[in-house]
Symmetry: C2
Subunit: 397 residues, 2 copies
């Protein structure tokens, strides 16, 4: 089992401590699984306190011994419940907290009330944006994990191309993608940070399923097989000459790869083929143009402009109510990481960002076509992390 | 696609309105996916306001047309963001909210702040416990969905018994379970309500993996294949004559079945076999004794007593730090539903409850054995919903 290196965690903590100092906070409580994993290397049930200066304290409620094995942090203590946090910090010489950060974008209200009660004099500040901005820039170790995810995705796209047959259901293909992912080492879950957002390893969307709109913040939703899921594969039977959009995600050591390929048994219609070519052209354009320092809004506009030039602007990134205002997003421990490549984003491309760029075209009642690839921002521009060279995945009848 | 019947939703709303009246609240905002699904029949991105009297208002942010198809509610309106909620309610004649409920066990702090700002005069009350108590009693429709989940689980346990071979990894078996589940109609996700709790379709825990403790509120955790997941199947290779614990969950139309079987290629040791027999005996004892009105704490004590009588008390429901203080839990739209069959629970068995009872024995460094079955509380006692008759799943070498 691969553990996070001590230096990696130390680097993250010290970067965060600069943020704490700049925000004039005494420290921050880290409670959510992925932020915890980022700063402590473990998700065993814990409270992590990171002071502005000095060593963090990891207070573990369950699986204390395991947390000690997994985390390179030095101060790892056992607690029975959150109410002991006050006393533990006092033991470490932290008597009064005047201002402290919390992950208010995800933290449930009742837990927040508990902390307010435990530290009645403290002023609480939302620190989630700062954490997400730190996590936006990936270390070489983190990039390597996303490269490993790309290996599994490439294997999956190749193998599923051999398996897809007319008459199979979307659900069956989804099941095979799960098996291939797990056999390849996918850790079993994909995480989204957004409230009420959920994701599994795949969307398998054939024909008109690809134009079914859902609650998901994505250009395609899919029917699912029940309104209780309302996304992804459903009972629809795959036919010839229709687009089969497969959005496929796997995670290695926490880090997600997120890619999309359009499959077809036979041929796409001329319109869909041209729209699909346009998706490829947008990738080529961005891969050529985008360099560090390039603004997200400008990247968005480049993509939208290319789609409009080719005459497919109306279908770009969803149709009607399903239209979403982004063409890409950061990936890492969560799928919905910063930066968001959106019209109002002033974020600039920075070396070490990893983004999934997903120009897709949704034709109502017909389906979705497109191409999503993962890229690393390097000093010379975008490096494609996707290993699947094939663009349109044509399956023999 | 099966939708929730109007009568089903109306019944739930009117039960909840009695709760609102009793708590003296003007209404409640329902925001979390599963509570939303329970009261509105849809999870399209929405805000649901249920007034103490009169019709609920479903305000949909994304997939408005789909929400209208999925929900039998009559007042379904479109909003751009949460800040419009105040105006929409005013249009429906709701001008002042003095006291209102929110799901404070799951609702993120920032969303809570938004409502506090939008309704500055309102006193906010946590209504999550009341919602969970309503959801605890299942309707005939809901019970039917859990019966359908049991059909898939039975198929899965049978098929995986044919597939398991010495030399396979836990991950591979997990992958096959995913394929079987999806082919059978599993909706693709299992949901937990608890903060930071997560679950996939299976735990596959062979040999000592079964005694690996995790953050999960469960007697077994498993290694997973990374500390970023820290539960479930890992890279361990399955061997002969060791316990292979499989906890398997699937959901149909939102409703989860959750069962556990112990597999073995060859034979268990005498100790493990006897502990496994004890798990079976606890099921038999509870199936015989438990009737409506029976207190959860008493059921817990009956099980603990039986385990102690047979000499396995030390290993019952986890060992050492991994010991959990419950022997069962409600299942439904979430896996961690009420009632919790725990030593301090004063909840009584009520007709219509569905519980997963999971007496398991964890032997450090050796593994986990046991049996988890799902039961419906009927007027005459516990009705087993599990369809898998085989108790110990012996696989031919």
């Amino acid at each position: 089992m691969e553990l996070i290196a001590k230096e990696e965690i130390e680097q993250r903590i010290s970067s965060f401590q600069l943020v704490l100092a700049e925000a004039d906070l005494d420290g921050a409580f880290i409670l959510q699984n992925m932020d915890m994993f980022y700063f402590a290397g473990t998700i065993q049930a814990s409270v992590l306190f990171i002071p502005r200066e000095g060593s963090p304290v990891l207070m573990v409620q369950k699986a204390w011994e395991r947390a000690q094995r997994e985390s390179p942090l030095e101060k790892v203590v056992r607690i029975k419940n959150h109410s002991q946090v006050v006393h533990v910090l006092r033991d470490f010489g932290i008597n009064i907290l005047e201002t402290a950060g919390l992950e208010m974008d995800v933290l449930p209200v009742n837990i927040y009330f508990g902390y307010r009660k435990g530290f009645p004099q403290c002023r609480w500040v939302d620190i989630s944006g700062e954490i997400r901005r730190l996590r936006m820039i990936k270390s070489p170790y983190e990039i390597d994990q996303i490269r490993l995810a790309a290996v599994i995705l490439n294997k999956g796209f190749t193998e599923i191309g051999e398996l897809i047959r007319e008459g199979m259901t979307e659900l069956e293909i989804d099941g095979w993608l799960a098996l291939i992912a797990r056999r390849g080492g996918h850790m079993g879950i994909l995480r989204m940070r957004g409230w009420n957002q959920e994701m599994t390893h795949a969307h398998v969307l054939s024909g008109e399923s690809g134009s079914e709109i859902s609650f998901l913040n994505s250009p395609h939703g899919g029917t699912g097989n029940t309104p209780a899921m309302a996304q992804g594969a459903g009972n629809r039977i795959i036919r010839q000459n229709e687009p089969i959009g497969i959005d496929y995600g796997v995670a290695v050591n926490g880090y997600t790869g997120d890619q999309f390929r359009t499959f077809v048994i036979g041929n796409l219609s001329k319109t869909l083929e041209k729209a699909h070519d346009c998706s490829r052209d947008i990738h080529r354009l961005l891969a050529k143009e985008v360099k560090p320092g390039f603004c997200c809004a400008d990247i968005y506009n480049l993509a939208v402009g290319e789609a409009a030039n080719k005459g497919y602007g109306e279908f770009f990134m969803g149709h009607g109510e399903g239209h979403v205002k982004f063409i890409g997003h950061g990936i890492g421990l969560e799928i919905d990481e910063y930066p968001i490549i959106a019209p109002r984003s002033e974020d600039k491309m920075e070396i070490g960002m990893v983004v999934a760029i997903e120009p897709k075209f949704v034709f109502p009642g017909i389906g979705v076509v497109g191409l999503e690839d993962d890229y690393l921002v390097t000093p010379s521009g975008l490096e494609r992390l996707t290993l699947t060279d094939q663009i349109l995945m044509q399956v023999h009848k």
